[in-house]
């Protein structure tokens, strides 16, 4: 009998072109996504080298990072100084090499990690890379997807292969049932708080357990999005009926006989029952509450009824220094209850939490309510398709009537590209990084779920959505 294998083992093995020794392999890369920032660099480097793309039909170009999202935006509008030039570089490269491009006027435009699953460009069992660390998001549909640098991106363009060191395998079991009002974002924040921002270094992480199986695909994408926030380059949920139903009929999904053949292959991919992992963690979901970060690393997180921790209780000098530095930056005092911390801005957007289900959750809270005076509230849908679908349901009206801005799709203010709008302000945000300066100069970011952000927008302070809902 064959050795039991994990999902990761199976997918990795199916892509090995050559064994390069010492655990390094040359892999076939099934899909390459290029965006207007790192993708433009890879395209420029390829052009400079005089080489051509090896398999242009497997490459997707998209504009999301640099393009402005304000309503009525123009095709070269950007908050970044050289943004227009970068957008032109992406368009020039895609045209020169005959690559698909989802440009600003294309209904498929949006954030790479939202668009790849919703168009079926990403499929279970595929390898997919993009010059963007949150490419691990797409593992939520059961693919092996990871972030690369621009030079690695150029290598994939030129060869449609990439040499990688095989990581170890970790499984995280979310057992039990998630309590009402607790979401995928809370699960992943809770996990990162437990294993630490470096807990996943060197691992490919499978998310498993009854609570993950119960998550719709969009929740799984949210969870996998933040694998990189505990330094796991790869995160995934092996495919099941939920995944297969989600992908059926999408533009780049296989059709007819090819679909049946693909489904049969996908069903062979989940980890065998006795497959061994290098490390396993188990989380009891019944214990998870809504979570909010207090500091400048996603590991600096507390439950919504928790308090800003006290560094003086920490013995390791390095860890204590990290906490003290974070407290100084976020301007919070140990012992302060996190619920009730006043906010300046509420932000709903990003590849983490700006899909239709996220906007529905927020809209359910915002309906008939108003954003607190003095709070600026912004919603940036994760893709143009999400925006159109939300508008068809009247979600945009609920957001607008509550006092939210309603934007076009893109990465917008998740990262600071030059728009100083969030400078010096405290933001509760559905994004994935609360690093120093991430959203702007001296911006203090608190990561949370769309439910928590919507409730906080209404309260004018970090708030527990479960209380508001009742």
């Amino acid at each position: 009998m064959a050795m039991p294998r994990t999902f990761f083992e199976k997918v990795w093995a199916d892509h090995v072109i050559a064994d390069l020794g010492e655990g390094n392999h040359l892999l076939q890369i099934d899909r390459l996504f290029l965006h207007d920032m790192s993708g433009s660099v890879a395209l420029r480097q390829l052009e400079k080298s005089g080489r051509l793309p090896a398999q242009p039909d497997l490459v997707f170009t998209i504009v999301d990072h640099v393009i402005a999202t304000e309503p009525g935006r123009g095709p070269e509008q950007s908050h970044a100084k050289s943004g227009a030039a970068m957008l032109r570089a992406a368009r020039h490269g895609a045209a020169k090499f005959g690559l698909r491009i989802f440009d600003v006027d294309d209904p498929r435009q949006g954030i790479v990690h939202v668009v790849a699953p919703e168009t079926g460009a990403a499929l279970p069992g595929l390898t997919l890379v993009c010059g963007d660390s949150h490419t691990c998001t797409i593992g939520g549909i059961g693919a092996l997807t990871w972030g690369v640098g621009s030079t690695e991106g150029e290598h994939v363009l030129a060869t449609q292969t990439l040499a990688q060191t095989k990581p170890k395998a970790m499984r995280i079991n979310f057992d039990g049932t998630l309590p009402a009002g607790v979401h995928a974002k809370d699960m992943i924040l809770h996990l990162i708080g437990k294993v630490g921002a470096n807990g996943g270094i060197g691992y490919a992480v499978e998310f498993a357990g009854s609570a993950v199986r119960a998550l719709p695909v969009e929740g799984r994408l949210t969870m996998c999005n933040m694998a990189i926030e505990f330094s796991a380059k790869y995160g995934f949920v092996p495919p099941d009926d939920t995944t297969i139903d989600y992908l059926h009929g999408r533009e780049f999904s296989p059709k007819g006989k090819a679909w049946d053949q693909a489904v049969a292959y996908w069903r062979s991919l989940p980890s065998d029952p006795d497959a061994a992992f290098d490390r396993e963690e188990t989380i009891d979901c019944a214990q998870i509450r809504p979570h909010v970060t207090w500091g400048t690393s996603p590991q600096q997180v507390v439950a919504i009824d928790g308090m800003v921790p006290d560094p003086s209780t920490v013995t390791d000098p390095g860890a204590r220094g990290l906490m003290e530095r974070a407290l100084d930056y976020v301007r919070l005092t140990p012992g302060t209850p996190i619920a009730g911390v006043p906010i300046d801005v509420a932000y709903i957007g990003s590849c983490t939490n700006a899909r239709l289900s996220d906007l529905r959750v927020a809209a359910a809270i915002l309906k008939g309510r108003k954003v607190a005076p003095g709070v600026e509230a912004i919603c940036v849908p994760g893709s143009t398709a999400v925006k159109v679908a939300a508008e068809a349901e009247g979600i945009d009206r609920i957001f607008r009537e509550a006092g939210f801005e309603w934007h076009e799709s893109g990465c917008a203010m998740c990262g600071h590209m030059g728009n100083d709008r969030l400078a010096d302000r405290r933001v509760v945000s559905t994004t994935n990084r609360n690093f120093e300066g991430r959203q702007g100069p001296r911006t203090r970011t608190h990561l949370a779920s769309p439910a928590t952000v919507a409730a906080s927008a209404v309260a004018g302070a970090i708030a527990d959505a479960r209380r508001l809902a009742s």
Partner: protein, 208 residues
């Protein structure tokens, strides 16, 4: 790939945990049409005060660390964003080596491709090197030899490390990675003809 064999130089201790690539190079420095001048953004928000003047307390603003070629760091260095501007900024600022207990995985790969060797080493040994560096006011040289995979501390202690064979050979020879892969063309073609028969949907998006 820029060649690397051996470097002996000044080492700057920056022993902070979880230094993310947003700190190494803030995103606003990356929206540009060429890599030229990215080095000016290295640790920009730590290096300069809000008014734009250099912060004299920051190690890379102090002599002799402003000429450092080796950075001594703590665990999970280079976590976060995949931005290749991080190693580019380090290289443009004169660095050839970062020594840390662990690295963000994408940053680790990006380093080699920009002429920087990321050296993994237990924190106790890094602290020992940092102490020796500080005791000599930064004058004690640290040597990193990729051929022998050893680091020599200012006090003469020899510490072994492992660099992935894949990158080690490419760096020692200064090879072109794409050229090397393309030389495997027969193997790649054979793989694809087998694989496309088994997984046709992987090769033709939207195949019917």
């Amino acid at each position: 790939m820029e060649q690397f064999v051996r470097v002996s130089g000044i080492a700057a201790p920056l022993l902070r945990i979880n230094v993310d690539t947003d700190q190494i190079i803030p995103a606003r420095f990356l929206v540009r049409v060429s890599d030229e001048g990215i080095g000016e953004g290295l640790f920009a928000d730590w290096r300069r005060r809000p008014d734009g003047t250099p912060d004299p307390a920051f190690i890379l603003n102090r002599q002799p660390y402003d000429r450092a070629e080796i950075l001594l760091a703590d665990r999970n260095f280079g976590c976060g964003s995949s931005r290749e501007g991080a190693p580019v900024a380090l290289r443009q600022s004169g660095f050839r080596v970062v020594i840390a207990p662990s690295f963000g995985g994408i940053f680790f790969n990006n380093c080699f491709r920009n002429g920087i060797v990321p050296v993994e080493m237990p924190i106790e040994q890094i602290r020992m090197i940092a102490t020796q560096v500080e005791e000599t006011q930064g004058q004690g040289r640290v040597t990193v030899d990729l051929r022998t995979q050893t680091v020599i501390a200012p006090g003469g202690e020899v510490i072994a490390f492992r660099a992935p064979s894949l990158f080690r050979e490419m760096l020692l020879e200064g090879q072109d990675e794409v050229g090397l892969t393309l030389s495997r063309e027969p193997q790649i073609t054979a793989f694809r003809s087998r694989d496309a028969a088994r997984r046709p949907w992987a090769y033709r998006p939207g195949i019917a």
